[in-house]
Subunit: 353 residues, 2 copies
């Protein structure tokens, strides 16, 4: 069986230090958000001018307007890259998260939740000013088709910058995983440049999820530039990868990303996933789900499974299978963090001894 | 089929005004709480000195200690009588809730959630002082057997008193429903005396849930006194009713409560429920549940179904069936408020045309 010491095949340097010298499998960087989830009829999305399946950034006033129209809510920690870190930890992996919170209820809940699942998180919380300086939160409207539509008020997460990078984590990890949402914020985007350099200087691989079709639309040329030497690993769904390469078919997009030489993990919902490797495409079927309740976190948990697998001795195909298992767990309930024992699910699927 | 104008059989006066003159089916009075839920191993309950299946009142410091030991949490509005009000509204009933919140995040979330499901709630929020004056919250530890164990920090809910009674609601309802937890607080207990008088002066029935075995232990003689003229309706589970009457069998307790002449609704978990009426006992089987996930709110939602039924033309047996349907819905997911369309479930069960 694979062991922790198997080097990750896509590490950029042949002089990578032995895995045992690295404290972490994955460092995830992204917006620290608490999700506020409610079921919602399709008509409400139209009324509110929200586009189904996407995330919109909103200010405090607009966030309040949307919240006022939502039904009874459930609050639970979220944030795309934070969900991924939680998933890696739930599988038994060593994960850290970098993000910014305020010292208010939401920030404290976020901190409690991510630490309690075993993720290293050592922020310097910003002092909260009620109504003005608050922790970030994401209003999630779940329609009857289990699709989620999000409106995020970033709060202090929008101030994420160089000062929030944690050298001790970034210099001792196999992979640094960045969420594309950060490209919406100039200071965070600039900080990501530093994070990529620090990662590569320490022989860590850099992974990016493009996060959302709107992110691809807004930052297409920047994401394409990153594929030229800055990234070892790319995560995108079908719609996003086609948008990124401007192709009308998934196959053409997969071919285009193959030409970059970057390992790409492309998720296709119920159709499963495709891993694009230098030696060809690997198609992996989706894991079965009894009933899809809420797709919030599906992509995040897929990434968690893949990242845990690839940093713990699984090959890309098995890693994608593990990603599918983790995604299947999170879409079977409300909320974007795992509720079942992911490690046990992986073992039951024969992925770990 | 029954209609809204059928008078409630247990109303105390034969001169009850016509139902159409009353704005509300049920006014619920209780602690306004936000639940903070996490799954927990049995061993953690022991470590923390918590008694499985019960609710303990804790101060701010102890609440923090327990929270620090809990895994990742989900926050959702709770509060026993508030859950019942939410259930009545979800069935299409006219419900109001009386309880006290602070003007902090938790209080605002509680207010949003209960209003958004259609419950009238018009509190005068107390000014919050972070760390000192806060809205009430209930830490809920859900063990693998789906049982919930609760530690409640009442916060401003502990100041509930006369000033929080809403005359406009109490004088225009069929039923006033009180939670036994309020007897833990002297000011709230005193206020309940006024609420009962106001209800009876306006020909409303008064219902009490004894809430918790610990409440029965602490307030046994007071609860027994209430059965002598103050109550028309009593809710208790098997353990609680045996404790209240000091009997060693459920049957003896049912006989004892029958002697009081108060209509009693006794829940027995998977064994269903027993309605004790002047003309004998009615046994009602439990509604089927595919998988019991979290029993938080089971009793509250049972009461909601029964109260909605009895105030909307159903007989006690059908009302207890409706209670069972509502309880079955809420124990099939995490959290104490209904997620499915309760009205549709009732219609599917043939209870309403």
């Amino acid at each position: 069986m694979p062991s922790d010491s198997t080097p990750v095949s896509f590490l950029p340097s042949t002089a990578a230090p032995d895995a045992s010298e690295r404290r972490l499998d994955v460092v995830c960087i992204g917006n620290a958000l608490v999700d506020v989830l409610a079921s919602a009829p399709d008509a409400l999305l139209d009324d509110l001018g929200l586009v189904k399946g996407t995330m919109a950034l909103v200010d405090h006033v607009r966030s309040g307007e949307i919240y006022d129209r939502m039904g009874p809510t459930t609050e639970a920690s979220g944030g795309s890259a934070a969900n991924t870190a939680a998933g890696v930890a739930a599988l038994g992996g060593r994960a850290a998260f970098l993000g910014r919170v305020a010292d208010d209820n939401l920030g404290m809940a976020f901190t409690h939740d991510i630490r309690s699942i075993g993720v290293a998180f050592d922020p310097k919380p910003t002092t909260a000013v009620p109504g003005e300086v608050v922790s970030g939160h994401c209003l999630v409207l779940v329609t009857e088709d289990a699709e989620r539509t999000m409106a995020t008020h970033l709060g202090v997460a929008s101030d994420f910058g160089d000062v929030d990078l944690h050298d001790g984590h970034l210099t001792s990890t196999h992979v640094v995983y960045l969420e594309g949402y950060l490209w919406e914020q100039p200071a965070a985007k600039a900080a990501m440049r530093g994070a990529i350099e620090l990662a590569h200087a320490n022989d860590a691989a850099v992974a990016l999820t493009v996060s959302d079709p709107f992110c691809v639309q807004n930052h297409r040329s920047e994401f394409l530039e990153l594929l030229d030497g800055d990234l070892e690993l790319l995560f995108a769904n079908e719609e996003e990868i086609m948008m990124l390469f401007g192709t009308s078919t998934f196959e053409a997009a997969a071919e285009a990303v193959a030409d970059t030489g970057v390992l790409a993990v492309l998720t296709r919902g119920a159709k499963g996933s495709v891993v694009v490797t230098p030696s060809g495409l690997i198609e992996v079927p989706a894991a079965p789900v009894a009933s899809v309740v809420d797709t919030t976190g599906a992509g995040d948990l897929f990434a968690a499974g893949f990242l845990y697998g690839i940093t713990n001795g699984l090959d890309p195909e098995a890693s994608a299978r593990l990603g599918g298992i983790c995604a299947a767990e999170v879409i079977a309930h409300v909320g974007a963090r795992p509720q079942a024992d992911l490690r046990a699910l992986a073992v039951a699927a024969g992925l770990f001894g």
